[in-house]
């Protein structure tokens, strides 16, 4: 037992109370290097052969993380005071720093200077906490310098004053810029990674002239900063912001930028009761997507409604205040893959559903918490005006992120020429009031623009999906291959032997991670035994293991068009857990006795061993069901199951379950080039619905059972009732064509959707359903302890309780549900972590976030492949109008699942715009012409919101919502190297018969 030798009391002042904490100082904290004879070998982290050790200060850790993460930077000492400060200021940087400290190769050593007897210092009278911490870092550096006389220890700090004081103490100190210059010979790429703005700011505080004044990057940047006039209003000081919020003058909320119009955003505010519109770059005042901001409402006469026009090149007229080089404006967006994302409408946010009426409008006066991504932003450099500047000279260039919600970012780089045609990752460092755009630094290169692999990488990073290979610790948790069911498994009394049952699985073609299988058989009493068998993943993934933690962090398998990013290592995903045909596999089974009317008599859960007879595709299962000549056991079973599923489905519909639709598409992929050959609507067969019905039944049964046993820690999935305002737009559109929709309950909605049919358009019903899907809210996971019973309700399924049990190979939520179910059955104790409410809250939040990201990534992948598909094709396709605007339409192309804007242009203007767009290099000019065209169109067309109609003044053309139309789909190069689909209206006569929809 090592008792502390001496101790010091540390006093901290809270709001009112004085908190006294003990602070023990120790003798057993070592330097972590083999060069120190006193340091025990097991405590050594730093290498004895390193040319020098770096000791970083807080600002370097906070702002130069990309530099520290570079492979060439190793053997770094991180004093614990730096860790604490970083933790308090930026949790995600703290995570990254912790990861570095945990990585063996990087050799980052955390030196607990605050608990070391010789390096602990007390705050002196009159000394600010910041100064005290800086001094503590210097003392730690000095301690190292004295301790290791033979080794060079460099204090890395961008604060010139700090450096001066360090030198006075006999410690060698360098700025990040100076350090990377020193290492230019062995690692030249380090220089680009320095967050110049942050470094320059630090330098500017001290005597910058002494050092780095000649540095092209920092010097140039500052020179311009001095000349430039202020663009944005200064943010109010934090004290004023807090006081203002308290007094009700300002409103706090998170900014959501319109996905399709980067100059428009919404701030959800409880104090105002509805979302506040922020319109235009100046009012946005440097706030970005996800930032927590303080907003001041504008006087009511300045309130605006969300634009009822499609954004054009003249969008909002903002941002023109910048210098000449910044005058280029962003052009409107091209077509997108239709989002069935609940709660999001094309062209505007859900909150804007009200249409043209005025909304509370405000401006940002302060940013309470930045949401800048630490993983960086993907995008590409704007083409340089002139080929000026030699290859190795630092240039200031504009970076255009692929995500349209974000503004341009200004970066300094020496490799502008080589990066011109590359997708790169850039991180934001700061955004000063005198700069139109935020400034950042280069992080890494992903690859050539337009390359499929690169673009896939981009969408993975944008959606924060971890594609790293599993670590060796995770692989160590996987049983060795070839794996087979052991004697011990068969002998386990809690595991039923169901190998004699005719079980089969039904999945999409090519599916390797089969996590569910089914069986049915007739019982002597005339009832049926129905079984759903789910891969027994929890038999292999034990709580608290490295594999469990990794799976919990990934939360879900991500499916891209041609790629799968697994949640669990491949041997488990594709073999050991997968319920493949003709092999014995472990399963977790739900078995019901049901009457021929599909009334559930009893249900039971058991671990089991099964042997699947066949792994069918949906198409195969469907043909077995349809082909009455087949009388083998599997086919008749499938038919019986299908019968039962039909009854179950009908009952569910009677309860008010919604039948929604999604515009899913399917690609046919060339096996060699991996390019899409064809694309078409995803066909939903009855077999799909049959499997779905069985899974729903299993999930509901498990939800009820687990909740009964663990009312406080069952994992459920709920689907909140959508707020009525989300339906406003759909109702208005439906009313315009004489259809009525009643969204008051899910039952009335389901019934009214059934009633929406048009004799002349068989697709109309599906279109309405797709649009209704967008009015929904997102279903989310929750731990039952977090909400009250009525909140467990699943609106879409009209089920009081629902959970996810049936896909544990690809969803972590199901793994948790399996564990809870095991505990409820008394097979294993409930893992301690599931009882920890705070921990579970974090886990559930992560599940929801990852689930959403995985969906977004999947869609982005579809979008990418659609783009590749249309690259070499010009297609005229059948389309439907989903929204009418004063200067254009939003149309939906069912066959390709594309939705996008078309402009109502007269033909001459259209031609001009087309040539401008096709010109490619003259993107800006094209945009302007198009803007002019739109403006012209504006005067020629009359928009009737009530009727959802726009007609030309001469009466020759008119469009109403849900009208049929035809569009030509082409790929065009837009600004910022975003290739995008462009839709143009063409007369329906140009539509080839093969593209017509019936």
């Amino acid at each position: 037992m090592l008792q502390s030798k001496s101790f010091v009391k540390k006093t901290r002042r809270g709001h009112v109370v004085k908190v006294v904490r003990e602070h023990y100082l120790r003798d057993d904290i070592y330097s972590g290097t083999p060069l120190d004879p006193e340091c025990p070998p097991e405590a050594c982290k730093l290498s004895g052969e390193a040319p020098h050790y770096l000791l970083v200060d807080t600002n370097v850790a906070l702002h130069q993380m990309d530099l520290l993460e570079h492979a060439a930077v190793s053997d770094v000492i991180v004093p614990s005071v730096v860790l604490e400060e970083v933790k308090a200021r930026n949790a995600s940087v703290y995570q990254r720093l912790r990861q570095l400290a945990a990585a063996d190769a990087k050799r980052f050593f955390v030196f607990a200077n605050e608990h070391h007897r010789e390096t602990y210092i007390k705050q002196e009278p009159g000394e600010t906490p910041n100064d005290r911490n800086d001094r503590a870092i210097r003392v730690a550096a000095a301690w190292y310098t004295a301790r290791l006389p033979t080794q060079k220890v460099i204090l890395l700090t961008d604060d010139a004053d700090n450096r001066r004081k360090a030198v006075e103490m006999g410690v060698e100190a360098l700025s990040t810029a100076a350090y990377t210059r020193q290492r230019a010979s062995d690692a030249p790429e380090l220089q680009d990674l320095v967050a110049a703005a942050a470094a320059a700011r630090g330098d500017a505080e001290g005597d910058a002239a002494a050092e780095g004044g000649k540095d092209a990057g920092g010097g140039g940047g500052k020179g311009r900063a001095a000349k430039r006039q202020r663009v944005y209003e200064e943010h109010r000081p934090m004290s004023e912001v807090t006081a203002g919020i308290k007094a009700g003058r300002y409103h706090q909320g998170t900014l959501r930028v319109n996905r399709f119009n980067s100059f428009e955003g919404w701030v959800g505010s409880e104090s105002v009761g509805q979302d506040i519109l922020i319109s235009g770059r100046i009012d946005m005042n440097r706030a970005m997507e996800g930032d927590v901001v303080a907003v001041e409402l504008l006087p009511e006469e300045q309130w605006r409604g969300p634009s009822n026009k499609l954004p054009t090149a003249k969008a909002e007229g903002a941002g023109a205040t910048g210098g000449g080089e910044d005058a280029l404006e962003e052009v409107p967006d091209g077509a997108h893959i239709a989002q069935v994302d609940p709660g999001e409408h094309y062209g505007e946010d859900a909150a804007a559903a009200g249409g043209g009426d005025k909304r509370p409008t405000g401006k940002v006066v302060g940013i309470i918490k930045r949401n800048w991504r630490t993983r960086g932003y993907c995008g590409s450099l704007q083409p340089l005006k002139a080929a000026g500047g030699s290859a190795n000279h630092t240039q200031s260039v504009r970076f255009c992120p692929v995500e349209r919600r974000f503004p341009y970012i200004r970066i300094q780089t020496r490799q502008a020429a080589t990066l011109a045609d590359k997708r790169i990752v850039v991180a934001i460092d700061s955004w000063e009031a005198d700069s139109l755009y935020p400034s950042g630094h280069y992080v890494r290169t992903l690859g050539a623009i337009g390359d499929k692999e690169t673009e896939t990488e981009v969408l993975l990073i944008e959606n924060d999906i971890n594609t790293n290979p599993f670590t060796s610790a995770v692989h160590a948790c996987v049983p060795p291959l070839p794996w087979s069911v052991s004697e011990a498994d068969l002998a386990d009394p809690s595991r039923a032997d169901l190998r004699h049952l005719a079980v089969c699985s039904v999945d999409p073609p090519g599916c390797k991670d089969i996590d569910d299988a089914l069986h049915v058989r007739r019982l002597p009493n005339g009832n049926f035994e129905l079984g759903v068998h789910i891969a027994d993943v929890t038999n292999f993934v034990h709580p608290g293991t490295a594999m469990d933690e990794e799976a919990s962090a990934r939360a879900t398998t991500v499916y891209l068009v041609q790629r799968r990013i697994d949640m669990l290592p491949k041997p488990l995903t594709e073999d050991i857990c997968s319920l493949r045909a003709e092999v014995e596999r472990l399963a977790f089974s739900v078995i019901w006795e049901v009457t021929p009317d599909a009334e559930v008599v009893s249900s039971q859960f058991t671990k089991s061993v099964i042997r699947s007879r066949a792994a069918l595709t949906y198409a195969e299962a469907q043909s077995r069901i349809d082909d009455a000549r087949l009388t083998d056991e599997l086919s008749t079973n499938l038919r019986t199951m299908n019968q039962l599923a039909r009854i179950l489905r009908r009952k569910r519909a009677d309860r008010g379950a919604l039948q929604l639709a999604s515009p899913e598409v399917k690609f046919e992929i060339d096996t060699e080039t991996h390019d899409p050959l064809d694309v078409g609507m995803y066909q939903v067969r009855e077999a799909n619905q049959m499997v779905e019905e069985m899974m729903l039944l299993a999930n509901c049964t498990v939800a009820e059972f687990t909740l009964r046993h663990f009312p406080a820690c069952a994992m459920l999935r709920r689907h909140p009732v959508p707020p009525p305002r989300q339906f406003e737009q759909l109702l208005r559109a439906a009313a315009a064509v004489g259809a009525s929709i009643d969204p008051s309950t899910s039952k009335s909605l389901a019934e009214s959707l059934d009633g929406c049919v048009r004799a002349d358009d068989p697709y109309f019903n599906k279109l309405i359903r797709i649009m209704a899907t967008r009015c929904m809210t997102q279903a989310v996971y929750l731990s039952s302890g977090e909400a009250s019973v009525p909140e467990y309700h699943h609106y879409g399924l009209a089920a009081p309780l629902y959970t996810h049990f049936t896909s544990p190979i690809r969803r972590y939520a199901d793994v948790i549900v399996h564990r809870v179910l095991m505990a409820a059955l008394g097979l294993r104790p409930l893992p301690e972590s599931l009882r920890d409410r705070e921990l579970m809250h974090g886990v559930v939040d992560n599940l929801n976030l990852r689930h959403r990201n995985a969906q977004m990534a999947g869609r982005a992948s579809v979008e990418l492949h659609t783009l590749i598909f249309f690259r070499s094709r010009h297609v005229v396709a059948d389309a439907r109008v989903t929204k009418v605007r004063a200067n254009g339409l939003i149309v939906f192309v069912p066959k390709y699942g594309i939705e996008g804007p078309v402009y109502l242009e007269d033909s001459a203007a259209a031609a001009a715009a087309a040539s401008g767009g096709a010109g490619g290099s003259g993107g800006g000019a094209g945009g302007r012409k198009k803007g002019a065209a739109a403006a012209a169109a504006d005067s020629n067309f009359v928009y009737d919101e009530e009727k959802q109609t726009v007609r030309s003044k001469d009466g020759s053309t008119h469009y109403t919502v849900f009208d049929k139309c035809a569009v030509r789909i082409t790929v065009e190069e837009a600004q910022g190297n975003r290739r995008q689909l462009v839709l143009r209206l063409v007369p329906r006569s140009e539509l080839p018969a093969s593209e017509q929809m019936h």
Binding site: V17, R21, Y24, A112, E114
Partner: protein
């Protein structure tokens, strides 16, 4: 909240299996028959013992054994927020019972029929682990009052946070929401457990680990208290020898020895 850093240090710089600094001052109140001031880190408790004495209320008298009365209170200033806690709040009642129960098992009450022992425990400063500190302080005060006891009784808490068993939780750790196991043992009777309390649920395997740690903590606390008592007795003996003035070195040594023996008997 990170309660144990990856470097293996707790919030206050201790390692997981370390106690806080212990301090004890004996015989601090001259009016009491026995008293002690006991500190575990920032937790500071004063205990005073009155008795053994004849029972005050005849109705309570037990002709076979002594009765123990116990009163526990937290000073209004003992926590950061100044809050007056009555003697009758639920938490106080529970702690009072726990202390009395522990001491009843430790004091050889059968040797003192028809008598009564009053024990007052006052928390002066609270920073987690108050009930352990109370038991330890009460034991010291009883020893000073020369009340015969079966064994040393020492109490210590242990908890489980960040997947690590932690000894002697301070307030911050106590508020962490993890399990908190309070144990009091008789170390010379093969660690006989005389008090076991637990907040929050914990898995059986974890419980065993935490319990083991708490018992180890109790032993360490017992060793510390024993040392302090020895010191105190020696000091008393020396004082008496000096008081008798010239009684001779041998005599003093004898007194000292007997003092020690007396203490041993008391255990």
């Amino acid at each position: 909240m990170e309660y144990v850093s990856p470097e293996g240090l707790r919030l206050d710089g201790r390692r997981p299996k370390e106690l806080r600094q212990l301090k004890a001052q004996l015989d601090v109140l001259s009016t009491a028959d026995g008293s002690a001031l006991f500190e575990m880190g920032n937790t500071k408790v004063l205990a005073a013992v009155f008795g053994p004495k004849p029972t005050e209320l005849r109705s309570q008298e037990d002709e076979k054994r002594a009765i123990i009365r116990c009163e526990y209170a937290m000073a209004a200033f003992s926590t950061g927020e100044r809050r007056r806690r009555g003697k009758s709040d639920r938490r106080a009642t529970e702690i009072t019972k726990a202390i009395r129960n522990t001491l009843e098992q430790t004091i050889m009450t059968e040797l003192l029929p028809r008598s009564q022992i009053d024990i007052y425990v006052q928390v002066l400063q609270a920073d987690g682990g108050t009930r352990c500190a109370c038991i330890n302080a009460a034991f010291l005060a009883l020893a000073v009052a020369a009340v015969p006891m079966r064994d040393v009784v020492a109490a210590c808490a242990a908890g489980y946070l960040d997947s690590t068993a932690l000894l002697d939780l301070n307030y911050m750790e106590d508020a962490g929401g993890g399990p908190d196991v309070v144990v009091a043992v008789h170390p010379n009777h093969s660690n006989r457990v005389v008090l076991l309390q637990q907040d929050n649920r914990v898995a059986v395997e974890t419980f065993e680990e935490v319990m083991e740690l708490a018992v180890a903590g109790c032993r360490a606390v017992a060793d510390f208290m024993r040392g302090r008592l020895l010191e105190h007795t020696r000091a008393l003996a020396a004082a008496r020898a000096a008081g008798e003035d010239g009684g001779g070195g041998g005599g003093a040594a004898m007194e000292g020895d007997s003092g020690e023996e007396l203490e041993d008997d008391e255990y």
